[in-house]
Structure formats: C-alpha cells, structure tokens
Amino acid sequence: MNAITTPADWATDQEVRWCPGCGDYAILKAVQRTMPEIGTPPEKTVFVSGIGCSSRFPYYMETYGFHTIHGRAPAVATGIKLANPDLDVWIITGDGDGLSIGGNHMLHLLRRNLDCQVLLFNNEIYGLTKGQYSPTSRVGTRSPSTPFGSVDRPANPCSFALGAGARFIARTIDTAQKALPEILKRAHAHKGTSFVEIFQNCIVYNDAVFDAFTDKKAAADHQLHCEHGQPLVFAKGTKGLAFDAGTMTVSVVDIAEGDTTGIMVHDEYNRILAQLLIDMPFGPFPMALGVIWCSPASTFEAAVVEQNVAASAGKAVDLDALLRRGQSWEIAAKDFHTV
C-alpha cells in the first residue's frame, strides 16, 4: 500500500529559513533524499524537535511534525510512541537542546530504549540565541557570553549516549552526502533509540570548527570510517588502530604494505571498543565516524505494551464493576424515608 515517494514528496511548501550556507541544509537534503528509500509513508512518520535552529527541521518535512519546547522533545516523543507505537518517530535536537537543557530527558530516553531516531546536530554553539558557547564547545571558545574564552570542559555526545545506555551510536558529518543516508538507514533499521551525532557547521557563529577533519584536504588523514568486520584503518590505509592489552589503550600505528596484522577489527557489538573509539582524543587520533556501536535490545514501548496486555489478560473491562470494587454496602429502597 505504500506509494512510492520521491524526495520532493517529503519537502513542505515552507521557505527554509536557515542562514545561507548553514550545515542544516545539507542534513535536510540528505534526510529528504533518504526517506523514500526507508519506505515508511509520510503519514506514519513524525518529526519531533525542541528549540534551536536545528529544531526548526520538522517544518520542512512533509510528515507529521511537532516543534515542542526547549529540550523536551524526547519526552514528547515518548508520549507519542507510547500512545501509538506504529508511528515512526524521529527526534531532531541540537547540542544545547539535547545536552544542556534537555540532557536529563536524553539520558532517560536512551536508557529506556524507546524505538526512535535521535539526530543531534552538533555545531558546538547555541545558534538560535546568537552564538553563546554550548556544552559541547571546546575549552577556550570565545562567544558573547564567554568573551575571554570558555573555561568548562565540554561533553562528548557519543560518550554521554554510551554511558546513558544507548544501544546504537553513530557519528557523521552534515556534508557527508554518501555516508549520512547510509547512517540514517541503519539508524532507522535499528530497533531502539538510535543516537546519531551529526557534526554541523554553523557558518555564522562557529564556522569551520570541524575543519580539522571535515575539510577536503584533511578528511583522508583524520577521518576513521568504522565498518563492522573491517580493520580500523585511515589515511588511505597507511595507518590503523592497535590495542595494547597491557595498558588497555589504543594507539595509532603505521601500516606497511597493507599488512593489517595487529590492527583492530571493528566490531559494532563490542561496547569497550565503542568506548575507545568515542573517547580517543582528536589530534593524536583520527575522528571515528560511522556506526560505532549497535547492540539491539528490547524496546521501551514494546515492554509497556506487553505489560499492558499481560496485566489486562482475563480481566473484565466493566467500569460499573470497577466503581463498585472495594469495601461496599447497599442500602435497600425500603429503608428510605423522605423528610
């Protein structure tokens, strides 16, 4: 019954209002391009967002959409999914929306494992409120609220997600028009909360913060594309990650003549490896991209539905009987005298 859709079917008639050159455009394009391939019909799809530049996203998707309040999209999405588990729910959030004001809800969404996709647009800045530093901004970020540079250490979104109990973690880049659709498809296919961090360039307030690995010239040497079952190599196969069991650390090693002996092989099901890939400091290490961790587990809404069904089994749905439950007595009509 699903009519075949094209990317244009997923675009609304609303004028897109991000700054010209904003990374959000590229993400929107990739999502609209991927939805026909995913195959869920638009009317079964709901985009839920909080507040921020990124959170305007639902207005541009010809699906059901709910632009909620700052940080609370995970909670609204939880109610939607529990009320109707058939809906395909996507949460769009930013680094401020999802990790500052909404950090608590994100934690609980991930630990509960509601079946939905979280796309966290990380631009390391508060775009909508004109450029204050965010919880993912690096130490020393100069912004209107930190004119002398921020002093607090940033949060690593994927590390947070892993710690919170996420079962699917992927990382990608706004402009990665080949990798991004593949990750969206994987995220969608995963049952449970799929957490996708997308490095998104805010051209106005934080331009080029990710250039060290997103720039065309830097990409090869500084991006590590994780593929399940493949050795963890980068720099055109000349470097790889090795594990030292004695110190329980990873190190970058040179690969001579394509010999990957001793190079770690990516295993999406290995949580320890995921932790290592997420936490390795960029600079000495490359930026790990792709599906870093994927280990399906039962979902929250399925458990809720299952319990609702089990607890209801064999019980009569008789409201009048319910009202009469408990300590009761009857007064017969003959006792009644009016005064």
């Binding site: 109707n84 809800h105 409201l319 009202l323 007064i331």
Partner: protein, 629 residues
Amino acid sequence: MATALQTAFDNTHPAKTHAETMVVRFAGDSGDGMQLTGGQFTLSTALAGEDFATFPDFPAEIRAPQGTTFGVSAFQINFGAGGIETAGDEPDVLVAMNPAALKVNVGDLRPGGLVIIDSGEFSARNLAKAGYATNPLEDGSLARWQVMAFDISRQTLTAVKAFGLGNKEALRCKNMWTLGLALWMFDRSRAPLIEWLRTKFSKNPHLAEANAAALNAGHAYGETAELDGPLKQFAVDAAEAAPGFYRTVTGGESLALGLVAGAKLAGLPMFFGSYPITPASPILHALARLKEFGVTTFQAEDEIAAIASAIGASYAGSLGVTSSSGPGIALKGEALGLAIITELPLIIVNSQRGGPSTGLPTKTEQSDLYQAVYGRNGDAPLVVLATRSPSDCFEVAIEACRLATQFMTPVMVLTDGYIANAAEPWRVPDMASFEPFPVTFHTELHPEGHINPYQRDPDTLARIWIKPGTPGLTHRIGGIEKGVATGNINYEADNHQAMTDIRRDKVANIARVLPPQTVDQGSECGRLALVGWGSTYGPIRKGVQRARARGLDVAHIHLRHIWPLPANLGDLLRSYDRILVPEMNTGQLKTVLRDQFLVDARPLSKVSGQPFKIAEIEAAIEAALGERA
C-alpha cells in the same frame, strides 16, 4: 457529601451513652500504624451504616525519630447520623499511644472529652522526648478531660505471647489492640476486620493470628473493664442514607476512577504521565493498576517530562493526563503554554499542599489558585475546575475530560491533600447515567493545498484534532505562533492579536455552556454570601447551616468552575450586601472575584495546614453580620 441523609432515629440503649455523631482521633508515633488503625476503623464505620468523614494527618518524614512530637501521626474520623461534612472540629475521644501524641493532640480534645492513653509508653525517656517536664498523668494537667490510662503495651504483649514474636514485633500489634478496644466502644463487628487481617497477612498467617489475638484482646478488655470508669460504650446513630450501592472512597481513588470514566465517555485511551510527589501520588498508584481500561501510566523522569509525554500522547490521539502538586505544577508551566498554543486536550491534576517551595508537603492548603488561573508566561488561558470532596472528584474528573476534548484545551483540576487522603461514603453512580461525549478525529481530506490544523468549529472555537497516521493530513504544530488561516508559522502582529483573542474567547465562552451557578443554601440575595471552592465546602456548609438555624441571613455559594467562572456569578454576587470568601490561602479566589466582577469580596484566610473548623466559619459569619448591624 454524596449521601443524602435524614434525621437520626433513636436507638438508644440504656447501657450506652447515646450520641448522634462522634469524633474520634487516633494519634501515635508514625511507626505505630495509626493511619492503618484509622482506615480500618473507617471501614467498620461504613459497614455499620454510619455516615463519616476522615482526616488523616501525618508527618512529612517517613520515619521521624521515635517518640518525638514531629513524628506524631494522627487520624480523625467524624461519624454517625446524617449530614457529616467535615472530619469534625474537636475530638470527643482521643487515643494517644505515647506522650508526644498526647502533647500534640490533647489541646484539641473537647473539654470533658475522653482520652485513652497507653501508660506503658510514659517512661521518663519518652516524656523527655516529648518535652514534658513532669508526667501529665500525674501532675493534674489533664484535669479538664476524662482520662483512661492503662498499659496497652503490656496488654498487647500478653495477648500475643503465645505466638512467640520478638518484643518489637509483638509491640507492633498494639494498634490492633487499640482498634479492638475502639470496636468494643462503638459496638462494631470484629469479623470483617479479622477477615481483612487474614488477607493482609496471607503470606504470614502467624502474624495474622497474632494481630487478630491483639484485636480480640482489646475488645475483651473493654468488655471486662470497670464499667463505672470513664471507659464506656457509645451508641452512635446510623445514617439514613438514600438507597443505593455505597463504598468508601478517598479523593485519590475517586479522581482516578473519574479519569477512567471520562476517557471512556470520550471514547479514548488514557495516557497518564506523572512524577511522584505528596499528596498527588495516590492517583498514579491507582491508575497503574487499571491497564485493562485502556490506561497507560508512565512514571517520567521529572514533572516536565511527565506533562511533555502527556502532550505527546494527546497529539497522538490519546487523552493525555498529568498529575502533581504545586512544586511539580510550577515545573510544568512552560509545557502548559505549549498545550495551550497547540490547542491539545490535556488534563492537569494539582493535589495542592502547603507552599511555597517544598512548604508543608503533608498539610493541606488551597494556595495554588493564582498559579492555576494566572501562572504562565504569555496570555495563556486554560480551564480550571475544583473538587470539593472525595466523592466529588469523580464528577469533576469527568467534567475535565469533557471540557478538554470538546474544546481542545488543557483543563486543570484543583484538589488538595485533605481531599486526596480523606475517605467518605460514596453512593456509586451508574455509568449509564452519564452522557457520553465521543471524540471524532478529523480525517476528511482537504480539497486543495494543505490542511489547516487550526481550522475550528465556529461555535466552540475548538480546533480539529488530527491523529498522526491519518493519510493526506500531514501537518506541523508547535509552540511558535501559527497563522489563523494556514496553521503555518506566522509572526505578524494582526495574526498574533487574532490568535490570542481566539484562545481567550474559546476558554471564556465555555461559561456559556456551564450550568448557571446555584446557591447551595439560603436565598439568591440577602445580607451575606459565603463563597467557597474546593475542600472548604464541608465546614462552610456546616457553618452556614448552623448560622441559618439560628436565624442569620447568610447564603452559601460553592464554585466548581473556577475558570471560566459561571456566566451568572457576577449578578448573583452583586445581589448580596456582603461577600465573604473563606479560603485556605491568603485570599486568592477573593482577588479573582474582585477582578472579574468588581465586587467587594472579603477574605477569610487560614493557612495553618488544617481545614477550617465549623466554629471558625460560624464566628466569621457572626462577625460579618455583626459588623454591619
């Protein structure tokens, strides 16, 4: 009260002291099981066919240090023949299980009233803990009352000796011993309670029998005690109630049942998102057990997530409900605005407690009326209803479901800690007596272009409700102002004016469909009207009744609809010379009435954490009328 009660019939027994109604307070350490004793005594009262109202009063601490005055837990019940509206002003009988309970409660006892004391707890150490310099059993300070002191602790230990319990465990049966004595005093049957003990301790029959032995021993003690002492049997009149099926119900239970009934009348599954808080939690607990009625409960990570999830559920086509108490409602404020601007049905229950901040979590107050009516950013109107008693919660909850779904609006239900925990007899209604109000979701395709989700019924101004999943009607809603004609984001000045007006009018116009405000007692004009809302209903009703019986010209008006106010209320209020508004706050409804109707409403405030006493209301009536004379 739900019961229509008539005058008492005389069943005086020569050997018993006859009373029409009786107020008994059980007080002890919070570990003494006084709430359980009170609850079971209430049950036996119901089974004896008496009308009643209860007032559980317990400390905020779960286990306050033993023997201290702040660890005292009390349960008061007023019972007997008809027309009981409050838990009673002054106890006739006080049961004090330790010095601290005596110290905190004896001052409330009617002069000449009976106090039953466990003298076994009156050690020097316990007296000191309660702050008694001398033993009140010996220093004559209890002379105003009839004192019956005996060693309940030792009596209990003897009674349960055969069961070989440890000393601590054995002493835990003290409350059942006391209950047994109370059953004897009021000539109640022990059988249902022994049955209850056996069910309660079904996994531990040994404990069930020990408790039953304690109960029987307490009862036997009464029977064999010196009859010329102050301990005696009372014959309390039974109520003559309207025929029907009755049960005891607390406000928490009744509200939960009303929500289930309301969702059913609307034809919707219910989603209940909540975060635990005293005294709101009983509603969550009750609903969590009712899954077969299409109820999904969700214990969220905080109150914001609780309301946000309920909004999400309403958006998806369920009836979203959230429940909390003042501090939690404060957290929900921003999300309330979202529900208002997205015009989704939503029910928010506020079980009020003493504030501000954490305030007095276990004490009752009505001080969140401003918060309910005014407490949001922007011009953000919603409907506010208030419950007046445990059984009234049922109808109010149904009314909330009706208004929320018919007008696509959030509805706040104000109840309070007193109502939530108090029990009363409830004449159970037939569901067939309620008119269903089934919701129809919008499914009709738009002829061309896009559906405007803010398309509305010209009469009610309610917008259409489209369930996600409906083909051809995809649309976006959200917290940014939307165009009247398109539903798309719209920042234009005229549009915001128009949308603000619509939101205001939609809620204000509900007044047109509300039944006109009636006068609970008295005439529709006169020298003085008492205007009340919420749980002050009982004492105001009784106070006005007594004043009227003495010939005073006073009327009682009770409001269920706080916002919008009934359409005829302004004219009605203006037909009295004076308006007095008794409230358990510093005058919040008073302010709203002044604001809405420019009437000279005067406050009668009480924020001591305790309900009004009937006598306080009576005195205020006299003062108000006297002042004028």
